[in-house]
Symmetry: C2
Subunit: 361 residues, 2 copies
Amino acid sequence: MAGVRLQDVAEHAGVSMKTVSNVVHSHPNVSAAMRERVQRAIDELGYRPNAIGRRLATGRTGLIALAFADVRLPYFSELANVISKAAAATGPGYRLLLEETEGTIEGERAVLSASEAGLVDGMLLQPSRMSSREIAERHGDLPMVLLGEGPAPLSVDRVMVDNVAAATAATEHLAALGRERVAFVGHERSGMSSTSRQRIMGYQEGLERHGLPVDHDLLISTGAITSQDAAIAVGAALDRGVRFDGLVCRDDLAAIGALRALHERDISIPDDVAVIGWDNIAFAATTFPSLSSVAPNTQALARVALDMLAERIAGFDGIGRHRVVDFDLVLRESAPALASTDAPGGELASVHAGSAHAISA
Amino acid sequence: MAGVRLQDVAEHAGVSMKTVSNVVHSHPNVSAAMRERVQRAIDELGYRPNAIGRRLATGRTGLIALAFADVRLPYFSELANVISKAAAATGPGYRLLLEETEGTIEGERAVLSASEAGLVDGMLLQPSRMSSREIAERHGDLPMVLLGEGPAPLSVDRVMVDNVAAATAATEHLAALGRERVAFVGHERSGMSSTSRQRIMGYQEGLERHGLPVDHDLLISTGAITSQDAAIAVGAALDRGVRFDGLVCRDDLAAIGALRALHERDISIPDDVAVIGWDNIAFAATTFPSLSSVAPNTQALARVALDMLAERIAGFDGIGRHRVVDFDLVLRESAPALASTDAPGGELASVHAGSAHAISA
DNA sequence: GTGAAAGCGCTAACAC
DNA sequence: GTGTTAGCGCTTTCAC
């Protein structure tokens, strides 16, 4: 039955509301007989505490908002899953309110400027377009932790993977495989995100460390962050004579598009072109050939983000903390492990603020 | 500033709470001068209405729960995206609380038996394991609409696609392409879901209509609903000598796994084996070859489900309504359109309770 | 160990 | 047009 109130239970059991409340919360100071009597009343009436009433009284809703561009992007749905599980296990057990920004500045503003306050206890936001200044100004006093390598004001907590280091590690792996012309695929043709920018920086760093050519022709941008656009862009590059034997992809979407473009032209992977993606999405294991990929430690990311958010909710008010979580380089058929690091878990490189492990899968 | 209350604004502006409330809600009956004065107070204090207070007073939270197995499954993340957009456009603008059941009966029970009531105004649930009787018993009086072809008590609203008809259409398309041994891939090895059951029924119906062999060897089950398991299962079937020239897959995950198993064995798609998946996930367009797929009309599904839910929330209390939305058969390289129905939108078949359109993509 | 009563912030009669 | 006031359902001091 709905509409059964705490007070109804109290009357039915012939006790005060406080006593019922004590029973509901398993408070120690209540006699066994009383507990029994009240519990019977609860069961008979089918009483269920009303969440909103409780929340008005306590000031906590138990809800946190998770905001990112689009849940259809595999990385984000993976993130939503991991965070939702971790959130349920955090403190009182948080639940997730899903907010999509569509990767637009309007969407990001809307998420931060919700006209109502107090619905959620805090927010996890992966921004991509908003400037760090605007984030700092708009978030008001909503407890917040930023996800990812996007803009982040010093005043706000943030968790990310070292994208530069990871891109360097991926590029160096291709170099170690003997690749001499390594291209980068999948950054936005216009309005490049900080994600793409950092990955390209790391890619260049990797090339330079091995004395490989850094060439604008080897930067293959796409119209949108989709595998279709990547397939088109890589196909066009090949058709206009751009040659490469290794491909660092902005993400697995781009990598899957690249796979398709290469297949269409009967280019063998990894013999002719080795490919590394990013995010290690579930499909990476079943593409043909299977895809090597940079795998951010999303478990750690969720854990760290939620811990920091819980501290903020609890009242912590210090300067923003910026944390870095580690990543793996998961090596599959499209860019296999070197013979010498063939064993799963073989250490490939140790990079600043997190280690890159090469894992053969 | 947080902690600014309606009352603070009223005092600051020297008016009553009611007047402030009128301004906040853009009520007509308030003079321009008054509106101006109050608005200034709101801006000066940075007042934002508190959602929980409002919700306690109105009894509505503006939240609906969306519960399904796992947001990482592409079909569900697509659904979450479509429903979240449609929900924002429904009535007062609903937001989504994400709940994952992990496809287990415990998970489904947990979602329905949340110990607190009143947090959400209603629920959209895609059940897979729970019996219809248990659903009917447990949902209490929470406004609810069921999604998908799982168990559904007559007392509860439900929206689905006609899975039998769609599977028949897919199978018949393969028959029309001249395929003579059409297998089904991807149902659970044990504990088969009603989804798989219905799709297999439609598959059998399609075979029988064309006098094609119905053979237990042609039912290739998998351990889990993943593309990896499908790749293993299809590979094993091929290796033990099962032969087929067409494949109806339970979903695109299974289809992508099948693609991989076929590629590994140098079997040509669609020449040797034509493949049709289900759900028309984004990747279907960029696999190699691209994947033909049954495309449920998720837009319509979201629209119908939310409309029914809104009616339930508004108090509608009639018997459960079971609605069927249509689907398309999107034809790509893995099982191309017939020459005669080559034109996009060419009508393939008209099936009960929804039309199947063949669309070449 | 149990009860009474004062809020939490907002809405909506109802009165002015 | 604007103000007063009684809740919405729960928690939580503070008496008893």
